[in-house]
């Protein structure tokens, strides 16, 4: 009994409270950044509108009325970048290597989703399965396929180069990225899928009208499409589960130990090659799920759709502090909001001279370059929170 009493506080079994703490600490931080970016960007556009209001009397109304929709859009984009960015950041955390083929894993997730959808259409079962089952099916198949694919890529193209100068695996990753693009193109163009594969879904029902913005003589409904809702819910679940795995399980701790010091991790009896593979499995599965959900949202996929989201997610990872898991999520969300605001408001503020949609990328990346000049270690930097 006496012995038990002394051991008790040091038991490895964490209390529920502790587990919730390590899992929801990062998620809470993410939430803070979501609210923070939404509020600060909203303030910026409102102030700009106020400044411009003497010359353009109705600008304030036009700005405020679309605000809720822009925030929803920003959240969806943000979660997209966040789920992809996790793959970059986890691999970087463990290997200090940027897996440029990760954008292609995302693309293949989309193609896998479209293939599942195509098979269901051609067997005539698509309309008869419940939408939720369909979503789960494409996500799980894409996760399994892309997770395995990422592990295979690591095994074939990166592991043999471990210990080589840093540029060598990087070049291999770029090569892998081209190979995956062309393989996807080959498969798609030589099957009924086609270059631009349609990604049909069961009927998800009507858009959900959250509320109506009423301002003066204008009224605009604030709409959440079911596809956006699916994306937000699925991404949230994945982020929470990932945080649980990495922070509260022994395997997750082994991933972090390996990221912090690989030779020493091997002295603990950890098979570091298996941990590296596991990292690719998790990152690939998340990227694949993101691709399947993204394709489902836009309704069509092609072999080159991974490039831009991949680059942006990489930027998000750097923005959050590469190697830092919470940072990748935060970076993704901040970037998503930046983009959504620029896309929606640039043309309003430039009196239509610049189309926001066309310049969203330029503007978002410019802001990022500035941010990185002043905070090169990223938003969450090195020391503040858990690196992997």
């Amino acid at each position: 009994m006496a012995v038990d009493a002394t051991v008790a506080p040091t038991t490895a079994r964490r209390s529920l409270g502790e587990v919730l703490g390590v899992v929801f600490g990062p998620v809470g931080q993410l939430l803070a950044f979501i609210v923070g970016s939404a509020v600060s960007l909203a303030l910026i556009v409102v102030v700009l509108a106020f400044i411009l209001s003497p010359t353009q009397p109705d600008i304030m109304q036009r700005v405020v009325i679309i605000l809720p929709q822009v925030i929803i859009d920003g959240l969806v984009r943000g979660f997209l970048f966040a789920t992809i960015a996790l793959g970059y950041t986890m691999v970087y955390g463990v290997l200090e290597f940027i897996n440029f083929a990760h954008g292609e894993i995302f693309m293949i997730g989309g193609v896998v989703g479209a293939t599942v959808s195509f098979l269901l259409v051609s067997t005539g079962t698509l309309e008869s399965i419940p939408p939720l089952v369909f979503v789960l099916l494409v996500i799980l198949v894409a996760m399994a396929f892309c997770g395995m694919l990422a592990v295979t890529v690591e095994r074939v193209a990166y592991r043999p180069l471990r210990g080589a100068p840093r540029l060598v695996p990087l070049i291999s990753a770029i090569g892998m990225s081209l190979i995956l693009q062309d393989l996807a193109r080959l498969v798609m163009t030589s099957t009924p899928l086609g270059f631009n594969a349609r990604y049909q879904t069961p009927n998800f029902g009507q858009p959900i009208q959250l509320f109506t913005m009423q301002l003066g003589d204008r009224s605009v409904p604030v709409i959440l499409s079911p596809r956006d809702l699916i994306f937000i819910v699925a991404a949230t679940i994945m982020l929470v589960v990932l945080n649980y795995v990495v922070n509260a399980t022994k395997l997750g701790k082994a991933i972090r130990a390996t990221a912090q010091d690989m030779p020493t991790a091997s002295l603990m009896g950890i098979d570091v090659n298996r941990i590296v593979a596991l990292t690719f499995l998790i990152g690939g599965a998340l990227g694949g799920a993101a691709g399947a959900l993204f394709g489902l949202r836009i309704g069509t996929v092609n072999p080159y759709m991974g490039l831009i989201p991949g680059l942006k997610a990489f930027t998000a990872a750097v923005l959050g502090g590469i190697g830092n898991i919470t940072g990748a999520m935060v970076g993704g969300v901040v970037l998503g909001f930046l983009e959504a605001f620029v896309a929606a408001y640039l043309s309003i503020f430039t009196a239509g001279n610049f189309s926001g949609a066309a310049y969203a990328d330029v503007a978002a990346f410019s802001i990022l370059i500035l941010l990185l000049i002043f905070r090169p270690s990223g938003l969450l930097g090195e020391a503040t929170t858990q690196k992997v």
């Binding site: 972090r256 020493t264 091997s266 603990m268 009896g269």
Partner: protein, 238 residues
């Protein structure tokens, strides 16, 4: 049969020939010390035993079986643990998580794990007060205790210690050496690498002297302490 045996081991870093045919044995229950000046190859010897480096020639035998072809995690599984040079604590894991990593091969919900944990925290009471502190924020001495404790969590038959007294205050050095002796008396064989030759020879049964990658002397600890060359070169006695 020796518990651990190195036969004519040659280890390289690229073109640098760091170990030039090392042969040594460690018997069950012993404390064996490996002394030598900076760059002699002491850490390289331990890294070779643990499988972090592969010898280009020669063999490492554990319980009579070759282990030099195995990856490090397999060697740990067989019962060889190492507390590496510079402690190498996982800085962003807590003290408890560091110890848990030491027990990576075992079920951390088992009573055996609890017993191991309790043993380590009894050997190093200072760690008990700091279980939820991040490893990187421990003092140097505390990190050293954690590094040894973490190695013990792997349930080793042989414990390889690389300069456990480095950078510690004299009182703490005294204490660490006492603990090493305790660990040995509790049944763990120890291979101890030290700059602090006097202390090492005072607790060891036997010792080897390493110079530029070669073993130049081997004897009982008592004889080495009396050896003129050892006194001159490593004990600072004239």
């Amino acid at each position: 049969m020796a518990l651990l045996e190195l036969q004519n081991v040659h280890t390289y870093y690229g073109k640098i020939h760091a170990l030039k045919g090392i042969s040594m044995t460690v018997e069950k229950g012993e404390i064996v010390t490996l002394i030598g000046s900076n760059g002699a190859g002491k850490s390289t010897t331990l890294r070779t035993i643990s499988g972090l480096l592969k010898p280009r020639q020669g063999q490492v035998l554990f319980n009579g079986k070759r282990i030099d072809t195995l990856p490090p995690h397999e060697i740990v599984k067989l019962g060889i643990a190492q507390s590496p040079e510079g402690r190498r604590i996982f800085p962003r894991l807590t003290v408890l998580e560091n110890l848990e990593m030491g027990a990576f091969l075992y079920n951390t919900r088992s009573p055996e794990y609890q017993a191991d944990l309790d043993r380590v925290l009894t050997l190093f009471p200072r760690l008990r007060e700091r279980v939820s502190q991040k490893g990187g924020t421990l003092s140097g001495g505390e990190q050293q205790m954690l590094a040894i404790g973490r190695a013990l969590m792997t349930r080793p038959q042989v414990l390889l210690l690389d300069e456990p007294s480095m950078g510690l205050a004299p009182v703490l050095v005294e204490q660490i050496f006492e603990i090493i002796q305790t660990i040995n008396q509790q049944g763990t064989t120890v291979l101890l690498v030290e700059q602090n030759a006097l202390q090492a020879l005072s607790i060891a049964h036997r010792g080897y002297v390493l110079q530029s990658g070669e073993i130049v002397l081997e004897d009982t600890a008592a004889n080495l302490r009396d050896n003129e060359m050892v006194q001159k070169a490593y004990l600072g006695l004239e």
